[in-house]
């Protein structure tokens, strides 16, 4: 059975290779091939899942050693896989949602002449992501880690003819590289500390290592997570990443890739458990990002950017939870999965809306769409309810647990974090309601496109609606399923471990508070956007709004702090290289040339001066010999 594990990766990888090398021949059915391979991988996943359920909790984790990758003395990097409950959760999420989104893309990209390449990239992404989650050592994980970075680079910049897209892609990759730097340093630290970077030895040896080292490793891992999961301070790329086709935003920048950071932290629980300082850093990052994303989400008029903000904030929740340690790991993953469902659903819905509105993204130009695209409306609505944590839907359970855990951290920390989470919940409700209302309700604010005709929205083709429907099922029931008898908790516990914190509030009070906050947010949004008419041109708004529209000045800050000094430095160095170093060398050459030119003058061609020099020479010789004699 374990022999299936490599196939998880192999199937989509083969698909990518085929589609890229296959050439035009595959244009007709390439997309179906890719979808089939994704589905196949999902099938493998299910098979392994059932196999895993067949064993009892302790023996569910299996490893598969494929071959020794880089054997250098003292340095053993293997291509080995580990499939435990945590990986399995991700495998199913990735392949499942991935397959659905492949399906969706078949319709969405129907009219793009480079569709084959698009699907190749999607398959490549699946392969890399799967490799990331089933790798058995950090170096292999690193391969998948950068692999998804590459895939997201290719997909964000898929419409390369748009300079904005190309720039966004590069930005995403470079920012991620900063995170990757953290990961590689972490690996080096592990190697220097444990002489290995495979999971088992590192986790086994962790308790021997000094806390300082562990904290350092933890912080580096956090840096990596920030990069991949768009957490403050490396969040700036996610908003621009929306330049990519919507399925990409749904799959990579909402459901799977951006959650890799959470996976990394949870996976390294053994290290974080022993490094409280590192955990604190994680929690702080999570809380800040949670609010940051939420605020940004409130101000955006671009529907995808608004959703991106919400993604950021939701992942903030997860990171927060993961930072709480054993109290929160399971809930982090749980929220991750549910979020995977409903956020993917929301994005697909947004895509479907754009599809119907000839790629209009400005919500202020929507309105009253519910009548025209019912399926989209319903699925999107369910996703909406799920994300704001409407009681009974999946978001309710997962988020509620996280907030509880935050309070359960105990002490003032606990209070602060809990309150942050609550506020976040309220704001989430606010901006999601805003999105909902602006898009589907109110009067039509449709604008004519450049060809001058008003859009006539229509429901999307079957290939697009089916995935949305399936995902909405997930967003409705997943939470309940997981929460039922804490099934999810017990499922993950062997990997992450679990401990109940001491919550100052009873779980019911927390639930009540959460719901109240949610209702408050919804109410406020209702008043602002349902009751009062929505202006087509955005009002100036408060300074905060304006800042939020500019992603709270993140880009301006990056520019001021990094880009401008960097380019200045580069320019200086270029000057130095050509004028300084080369100038010195050329100057030397010129000097020598000049000297020899002067020396040449001695050769004046007059016999008598030659004779003179001969005579002088003889004189010197004789004199010196005589002197030698005399002394």
């Amino acid at each position: 059975m374990n022999s299936l594990i490599p196939l998880l990766v192999a199937a989509p990888l083969a698909g990518a290779a085929l589609l890229l090398l296959g050439g035009r021949a595959l244009d007709r059915f390439g997309h179906w091939l890719a979808t089939a391979l994704a589905a196949l991988s999902f099938g493998f996943g299910l098979a392994l899942f059932s196999d895993m359920l067949g064993r009892e909790a302790e023996h569910r984790a299996v490893t598969k050693h494929l071959f020794s990758w880089v054997p250098v003395n003292g340095f053993q990097a293997d291509v080995a896989f580990r499939l435990d409950q945590l990986s399995m959760t991700f495998v199913l999420l990735i392949t499942g949602v991935g397959t659905l989104i492949h399906l969706y893309s078949v319709g969405y990209m129907a009219h793009d002449e480079r569709r084959r390449r698009f699907f190749a990239y999607l398959n490549l992404f699946l392969a890399a992501m799967l490799l990331l989650v089933i790798a058995d050592n950090y170096l292999l994980l690193y391969v998948g880690w950068e692999g998804v970075g590459l895939a997201s680079y290719l997909l964000i910049g898929f419409w390369q003819h748009k300079p904005s897209a190309a720039t966004a892609a590069k930005k995403a990759f470079v920012v991620n590289r900063v995170g990757d730097m953290g990961l590689s340093i972490a690996i080096m630290l592990m190697f220097a500390e444990f002489g290995s970077f495979a999971f088992t030895p590192v986790f086994d040896g962790a308790h021997e290592a000094s806390e300082g080292k562990l904290t350092a490793i933890g912080l580096m891992l956090l840096l990596a997570a920030c990069g991949k999961s768009a957490q403050v301070p490396l969040q700036s790329w996610l908003g621009d990443a929306m330049e990519g086709p919507t399925p990409v935003s749904a799959l990579i920048h909402a459901a799977t890739m951006v959650t890799a950071g959470v996976y990394l932290i949870t996976r390294s629980s053994a290290i974080f458990n022993l490094a409280p300082d590192a955990r604190t850093a994680v929690v702080v990052v999570g809380a800040v990002t949670l609010l940051f994303g939420a605020v940004v989400g409130c101000a955006k008029d671009d529907i995808k950017k608004a959703l991106a903000g919400s993604t950021m904030s939701q992942i903030g929740y997860m990171v927060l939870a993961a930072g709480l340690g054993p109290i929160g790991y399971a809930f982090a993953i749980m929220h991750l999965v549910t979020h995977g469902f409903f956020k993917a659903g929301l994005f697909l819905g947004a895509g479907s809306v754009m599809h119907g509105m000839n790629d209009e993204v400005n919500m202020r130009h929507y309105g009253g769409l519910w009548r025209h695209m019912k399926v989209t409306f319903v699925t999107f609505g369910l996703g909406y309810l799920a994300i704001i944590g409407f009681p009974g839907l999946s978001g309710f359970f997962s988020k509620d647990r996280i907030i509880e855990a935050a309070f359960a951290k105990g002490g003032t920390e606990g209070w602060i974090l809990g309150l942050c989470a609550l506020v976040g919940a309220a704001v989430t409700a606010f901006y999601m309601t805003r999105v909902m209302v602006l898009t589907f309700f109110g009067e039509k604010r449709w604008q004519p496109d450049e060809s001058g005709e008003l859009p006539h929205p229509h429901e999307s083709p079957r290939t697009m609606t089916i995935p949305m429907v399936l995902l909405s099922f997930g967003s409705v029931f997943a939470g309940g399923l997981f929460a039922f008898h804490d099934s999810f908790l017990t499922w993950l516990e062997p990997v992450t471990g679990h401990s109940e914190g001491d919550s100052p509030l009873s779980s019911w009070t927390v639930t009540g508070l959460t719901t109240a906050c949610m209702l408050a947010g919804v109410g406020l949004a209702y008043l602002m956007y349902w009751r009062s008419p929505v202006p087509v041109v955005p009002p100036v708004g408060s300074p905060l709004t304006r800042a939020a529209r500019r992603d709270l000045l993140q880009d301006d800050i990056n520019h001021a702090v990094l880009v401008r000094p960097g380019s200045a430095l580069t320019a200086t160095l270029v000057w130095f290289d050509s004028r300084g170093l080369d100038g010195f060398v050329n100057g030397l050459a010129a000097t020598i040339g000049g000297l020899s030119g002067r020396l040449r003058r001695i050769q004046n061609g007059f016999v008598r001066s030659y004779a003179l020099s001969m005579f002088g020479g003889t004189l010197v010789l004789v004199a010196s010999t005589l002197l030698m004699r005399s002394v």
Binding site: N604, F606, R608, L612, F615, G616, V622, L626
Partner: protein, 294 residues
């Protein structure tokens, strides 16, 4: 007496001393003269004097044969050779005394001085108190002694020098002799040539015409009083030994012409331009030595 002179060991007889001082003065004087004289001829003569003095010195030191050879070969042959060349190049041509190599004179003086000092110091340092005279070396006479050496120990060098001399002679010939690549032009051809490029149809003017005194180195005067360089021998022209006609001569010619003109009442336009240099037929310089030969 010469043989006797060569006997002395530690010192020399007063006779030789006297002789030496006289000869030394002559030799050095000659050398300096050669160095300082502006005309090559004078230098040559001074050098000859020096050589003669040296010849006597040789004899005084028992090198009779060398003394004779010195007089015959050097003073006789070589110096004459020099004189020939000097004549060929120009007896009276002088070096301009201004030095155009910067610092050459000074450096030369310095080197010479230094060298002299060195040599003198070297000789002074050497222990040269005991002189074994040539009495027994010259026992059977100087010439046989030399001959024995030359034809026994130095025979090889002797042969080589012989070869050297022959080579030198041939070399000299090769250097000075020049093949005529094309047959020399005949009088007829030259005449035809002159007519063709209508520069100088009549034969060259004879020198000394209208000259105050009849000499080869005085150019003829053309009707307008300007000197005709052509009338002087090419070699003299080469050496720059053309004696120029005095200015007043030309001036008087001009006055004469003008007076005639006044008397005849010619218009100024018809008057000959006074002392206008006639277009010289051949600018001196591109004068081929070949013609100098013919």
């Amino acid at each position: 007496m010469i043989a006797g002179l060569a006997e002395a060991t530690g010192t020399t007889s007063t006779g030789e001393a006297v002789q030496f001082w006289v000869l030394a003065v002559v030799a050095v004087g000659g050398a300096l003269g050669m160095l300082l004289m502006r005309k090559a001829v004078h230098s040559a003569l001074c050098l000859a004097a020096t050589m003669l003095a040296l010849a006597v010195c040789y004899m005084a030191q028992g090198a009779v044969f060398l003394g004779v050879v010195q007089i015959v070969v050097y003073t006789g042959a070589i110096m004459m050779l020099f004189l020939f060349v000097v004549m060929l190049v120009g007896v009276t041509s002088e070096d301009s005394l201004k030095e155009q190599l910067k610092g050459q004179r000074f450096a030369a003086a310095l080197c010479g001085l230094g060298f002299g000092v060195l040599l003198v110091a070297g000789i002074a340092n050497a222990k040269l108190d005991h002189f074994t005279g040539l009495s027994e070396a010259n026992a059977e006479g100087n010439v046989p002694g030399l001959a024995r050496l030359i034809f026994t120990r130095y025979v090889w060098a002797f042969e080589v020098t012989g070869a050297l001399l022959i080579t030198a002679a041939i070399g000299a010939m090769v250097l000075t002799h020049r093949e005529h690549v094309k047959a020399p032009k005949t009088q007829r051809e030259l005449a035809a040539q002159r007519v063709r490029d209508n520069l100088q149809v009549p034969p060259l003017p004879a020198p000394g015409v209208y000259a105050r005194h009849n000499a080869v180195d005085v150019p003829a005067l053309l009707p307008d009083g300007s000197p005709a360089e052509l009338s002087v021998n090419a070699t003299l022209r080469e050496r720059g030994q053309v004696r120029d006609v005095s200015e007043d001569m030309q001036r008087r010619m001009a006055e004469l012409e003008n007076a005639t003109a006044d008397w005849l009442g010619r218009a100024s336009s018809e008057r000959p331009v006074v002392a206008a240099p006639r277009r010289s037929l051949e600018p001196a310089g591109n004068h081929e030595p070949e013609e100098g030969e013919q």
